[in-house]
Amino acid sequence: MSRYLSVFALAVRGSFYKVLWILAAAAALETGLFLVSLRRGADSLEQAVEQSGAAYGMALAFLAVTVFLWRTGCEYGSRQGYTLRRLMVSETAVFAGQAVYNVLCYLAVWALQAGLTLLFCRLYVLNADPASVSGQTVFLAYYRSSFLHSLLPLEEYSVWIRNVCLVLGLGIGGAYFPFRQRRGELGLAPVFLAAAVLLFFCRDLGDMGADVFFSLVSMVLAGYEISQIWEIRREERNDG
């Protein structure tokens, strides 16, 4: 068991503190921007969130985390693949360990953003004119703002499913990329998914078709990547 944990720890050691720093910086930046937005004044909670640019802060954090996660396990300055292929555990286990770690990191990105938006709601309610705030203010903001709704979609289950599929797809893609890079190849499939997340993560209420589409794309890409790894390892085993 410790062998499997050790390959999981390889991925953790490669980027854990960097991811932590990015999340801390994103939290500080977005909170600062939201406080400025509150000072400038806003007609509603969703407007305050929108004009703060928190969505761009999240996009930046997502991009930075993605770069650091995907770089982990790539060969820069050392051919660590030589060692990975000589271990008692298979390189597929190394891939799985990294994928699990990536999924946890993307969940942390989501949890941080969701937590931040809840903090923003609290700050808004505390600072807003009591006459303009009701028990429905926060609830309605999560339906009206595409950013807030995409983060915490309340009872729109298709968005929850889409988000879970995206996190899984990105996590697997982030382990697939270095696996191919160690063989001198470019595994670009997950790059398309990351670009799609950046461009289309925020979406309005009730677009179930888009949710189904993105969930399917994410899962098909993940399936393709896993099958590719399976195939490459099979060929290497037969060759070796």
Binding site: S6, T83, R86
Partner: protein, 246 residues
């Protein structure tokens, strides 16, 4: 015993290894020599199972499988460590994956070469990285240690230290296959020299045989490769002649 029988390897059209057969007995220190592109690195990668090949490589009469791979260690000028891990992290990682990891030897060599144990490898100098690469290979607990240009970039004193340390710490069961261009330097360290030329074994001689024949390793290699000592002066003379003619 590591037995390499009729091993061939192609990269597309190019034949990198052609029908190579070689035996390495336990306890030998073998130098592997050859021009750039002779197939030295390819041969090592085939032994380690990092490349597909035709032919057969047996370890104590059996094919090399996942379990027996721990009996082979590899140190390469390309490096195979994890840059984000510290030496301490490597020690733990290797101890988990290679049950025969030599912790005492690791500690001793780290101290001897004064390498920092808590700094990530990416912050090491080029020479320190080479040293650590070799230390890891020596401490894995393998019976066969393959080294591919491990000292490229290290200064002459450092290399000298390594040869001495190697001779001092190696146990009778440990075998070294050392690929290098530093012929003169390693001639006092190896017990046998294998020459590869264009993917084929061009020569295989023990240092004792060379000593008996009164030939130096460098002369043997030059002779095997039919190296023409006056090649450069001839070429320069021809060039000078052409210019005079113009």
């Amino acid at each position: 015993m590591l037995q390499i029988s009729h091993v061939s390897k192609r990269y597309g059209e190019k034949e990198a290894l052609r029908d190579v057969s070689l035996q390495l007995s336990q306890g030998e220190i073998v130098g592997l020599f050859g021009e750039n592109g002779a197939g030295k690195t390819t041969l090592m990668k085939c032994i380690l199972g990092l490349l597909a090949y035709r032919g057969q490589i047996l370890l104590d009469g059996r094919p090399i499988v996942k379990k027996s791979k721990a009996r082979l260690a590899f140190a390469t000028a390309e490096h195979s460590f994890f840059p984000n891990l510290t030496p301490e992290g490597h020690r733990d990682f290797y101890s988990w994956h290679f049950p025969e990891f030599r912790e005492k030897r690791f500690r001793g060599l780290m101290e001897f070469f004064e390498l920092p144990i808590h700094k990530p490898l990416r912050s090491f100098s080029a020479g320190q990285k080479n040293q650590f690469e070799v230390i890891l290979a020596l401490c894995q607990g393998a019976d066969y240690i393959l080294m591919d240009e491990p000292f490229a970039g290290n200064d002459v004193f450092n290399r000298e230290d390594f040869y001495k340390v190697l001779l001092g710490i190696l146990e009778p069961s440990e075998t070294i296959l050392l690929s290098t261009h530093l012929i003169r330097e390693v001639s006092g360290f190896i017990g046998r020299a294998v020459l590869l030329h264009r993917g084929e074994i061009a020569g295989d001689v023990s240092m004792a045989q060379l000593e008996d024949s009164g030939q130096s390793l460098l002369d043997f290699i030059k002779c095997t490769y039919r190296y023409e000592a006056d090649r450069v002066s001839k070429a320069l003379g021809e060039l000078a002649g052409e210019e005079d003619g113009e």
